[in-house]
Symmetry: C2
DNA sequence: CCAATAAGTCAACATGGCTGACATAACGTC
DNA sequence: GACGTTATGTCAGCCATGTTGACTTATTGG
């Protein structure tokens, strides 16, 4: 695969005829970082666009997708936890959550310990849609990783985690742990957000 | 650095007490891909949030940032080209572009060949703001790459490029090339989008 | 009984997408 | 020089999804 994004001196020379000069090497090449900034924007667009077009068929948007995703990943999630993950207001969440519940994609059950809580679960219908969305995004990521060498997998995850805002890192770490750990979030003692 | 995101069998065992079983290894672990999906969301949020808070001080949003960014990267950009990069309607662009021009962050000049064209440039003021935004994002990316091994740089760019939607790839490739190539977009013969 | 908590709801507003329709100026051609 | 095309700008209105503030309801626990 042609390495489109790299800026090795030889390629720089070959592609543009401009000789590399010392100023380009201020730590990491500014040009490379600029390329990353831009790529991140386009990559995120690529990441979401296929799922968006499926969601559109259901009259849903990306906000609905997020709810489906995190409920899928954390069955029995409390509304308050979801709010904390998404960092939006309950009014914003309510709008999309209500639709998802009304249309039977998400099921709410009162908590058995504390009946004020509404634990969120996917219905079969909700699981079907979520699976479809997940598969399309997983496929794209898998395809992207496939072209890269071994270790790309872990390196990419580490890069992405490092990009997460500091204040979000503990939460994201807990989410990843609980999900790959196996014990559902509602039954863990130490993961109650 | 603790590798938070990896799912090596040993860690899986240590973290959750759940033994790894064969079904986890369907090509790439589904759990790892799910983690990537989630990480991409949180990472993009981390990527944008600092810039967003600066923009807010100016009464601008992410839409303004995109315009500033691409004009900075492609001085003399035509409105039509910008529309094609952003994939939004001219009405949506007009709203933010008008603000940026009215407030003196962006300068429009009629093209010298075709005077219908409005070539876009940053004013000194616009360049100052854009630099501030770029620096904060570049710093975050640099920080994220710093923790990873050598080669993370190129691998990350390649991963991100691979995530770009197929229909966008030629355009993104051209953008990267023109910018690292050196010849400004308005003077190149073969890059006229 | 009562204060605190989890959740839901109503109203209003901002941003940034969208569509459709139309205006203006400049270009190029017949 | 008239005319069709192109590049851009603009008006009006709609939608999705974020925000704030205020208030209700059900439930918990002291």
């Amino acid at each position: 695969m042609a390495d489109i994004t790299s800026e090795s001196p030889s390629e720089k020379l070959a592609a543009s005829g401009r000789p590399p000069h010392a100023a380009d090497d201020d730590r990491r090449s500014t040009s490379d970082l600029l390329a990353c900034i831009e790529l991140f924007y386009f990559a995120y667009r690529g990441f979401t666009c296929e799922a968006d077009s499926i969601l559109e068929q259901y009259g849903f948007g990306r906000a609905h997708h997020r709810v489906l995703h995190f409920v899928n990943r954390n069955p029995g999630l409390k509304v308050a936890e979801l709010l904390d993950i998404l960092r939006i207001t309950k009014q914003s969440l309510a709008r999309v959550l209500k639709q998802l519940v009304d249309e039977g994609f998400i099921i709410q059950k009162a908590g058995h310990e504390d009946r004020r809580e509404r634990r969120l679960y996917l219905s079969a219908k909700g699981a079907r849609l979520t699976d479809k969305l997940t598969q399309i995004q997983a496929k794209r990521i898998e395809g992207a990783l496939a072209g890269l060498g071994s270790g790309a997998d872990a390196m990419t995850r580490n890069f992405l985690f490092a990009m997460v805002a500091e204040k979000d890192k503990p939460r994201v770490e807990a989410l990843l742990r609980s999900q790959r750990g196996g014990s559902p979030i509602e039954e863990s003692e130490d993961c109650n957000l």
